[in-house]
Symmetry: D3
Subunit: 125 residues, 6 copies
């Protein structure tokens, strides 16, 4: 399987149909950024077994919380973390842990976004 | 066991004698910062079983790499990550993963610090 | 008085009923993050007289402006700064000062949020 | 011509009437921040020919993408970059370039804001 | 008095002869950056009485701690804060306060730099 | 030519023999990070003609200054910027420009690193 195909499959695994749609939107507007994200971001980076998908999700979320992601990235990756089996309690504790390393304002900002993600997931059921 | 005692024990678990020494140095200069770090940073934050010590180490390191820690924090927590059983290959892959989420300059900066940590560990043997 | 009670009192002093409500919302969704914020963030940190509440407000706001807080933290702490007696002119000058140390984009972003806070305060009267 | 007049002219060159309006709004609320932005930010900084306006726009946008600007700064300076003649393809490639140096989440956040700016520009025609 | 002269005087007030020397070094290598720093950074920004010099020092230090300043800025402004009369206990508490808003790694990094500044000041006596 | 070969050529163009050596050192310690940096960072990102090498250098440096790179990245990319023909005056003005967008402390930190780079280049002649 080539890198792009592998990238699309990883997106589906992480973020389901909503993830596919959202990368398709990137691709329509900027085919080259989508290509870079697919081949490198998903295709290459995730193609290594030293870390599990759940470990990668913890790393990704910690990075997003720390960089003060305004919302889009956190939304996407909180959903992804749930999709690949992290439990709500683990994600809440990740946010708690970040309060000590990145400060409370970023932890509380992340908490509100995670709450929205859970509420939206609830409505879909 | 009170929070401070629990905090000291966590530091020993994470960073061994070197960690104890380094917190004692903080305590000598700023007793209150040491108290806050021990009771909250170690005592409270680590006192929850939703995440394992290894998961916490991944989260901490991702936060430090992303915030562009100049060196002290990364040194301390790379050593800690090895102490609690993360393998070299896992830590290298954490750095790779961060290249996509926090950019290459921060990943390569972290790589050099991790290399120093491993070389120092080697010399002690 | 225990730390949590002290924490709640500090929140009331800083942010009034709105502050209490907003921490109650955090508590409902993540009791442990609320506990950490109350006991450590408010209970411990503010329980020291080396700095006045107004000095702490300047430090908090400078940190939030510099970390590029997306909005929630700045809203809360601009209101708090007014509550504990900082004048509008002082807060405006804090923003001016930050333009030199954190750059104009963050200063102007903060200015717009402060403007909203003042307009909302005006409407309540 | 004095610095303020020069500053206003630069704003017009960069951001047209919309830019003038937006600085007037800053001026109404905080005359001193507007003065600092006009005299220093526009008047002094842009008054040097070592870099062209297009080179400055690339530098400004890279800084805003990297600092994770929540939106206002990126909106303003994407419009400005188009006004002074950078092409859509160049701006898209600037975003691609930043994905490697500041990470994908910031690049994709910037992409969505740039898309909004182009859609708004389209509607005005 | 013109802005540059005012700027030099502010530097002397903040950072004494060492401050003058350090800005002269900037001026020799980059006259224009020194001019911008003097006229805007010191001349304009500090020329307003809404905030005292001590309040400005708290704001500056909080910004530097939060942005993870690698060392040069923190060294300079810790010395300056002592020069203009902030006490050691106040600066230590500023660092404690920042642990909650910007995280422990940045607070502990700042603590070590502050310790160096005090040790150097001690040696000069 | 495959991506890796293209990547190595780009490194040579940007950073000469010193650049090759430094990537070889990364490769020895972490073959996978070197592969990602070569194939994606250099191979893919630089393989597009919408921006010139000089424009890319301005974008890279602005990102590094803004993210507060502790030193390694700025050293490498200041040298690279000179290698591909940016003039000293242009790089100094880039730093000046960043003072307004990322604040003076980061600009002055970058200035000192650029000075070191020029002094080392002088010594080699």
């Amino acid at each position: 399987m080539d890198k792009q195909a592998f990238g699309w499959r990883k997106i589906e695994e992480l973020a389901g149909e909503q993830g596919i749609k959202s990368m398709k939107a990137v691709e329509e507007f900027s085919p080259r950024l989508a290509k870079l994200a697919l081949e490198f971001g998903y295709g290459d980076v995730y193609a290594d077994d030293s870390l599990t998908m759940q470990q990668r999700a913890l790393i990704t979320l910690s990075s997003l919380i720390t960089q003060g992601d305004a919302g889009r990235g956190l939304h996407y990756h909180f959903r992804a973390a749930l999709n690949i089996g992290l439990e709500k309690a683990q994600i809440l504790e990740l946010i708690n842990h970040c309060s000590a390393y990145a400060g409370f304002p970023k932890a509380i900002h992340a908490l509100h976004i995670f709450k929205e993600v859970l509420e939206q997931a609830e409505q879909k059921k």
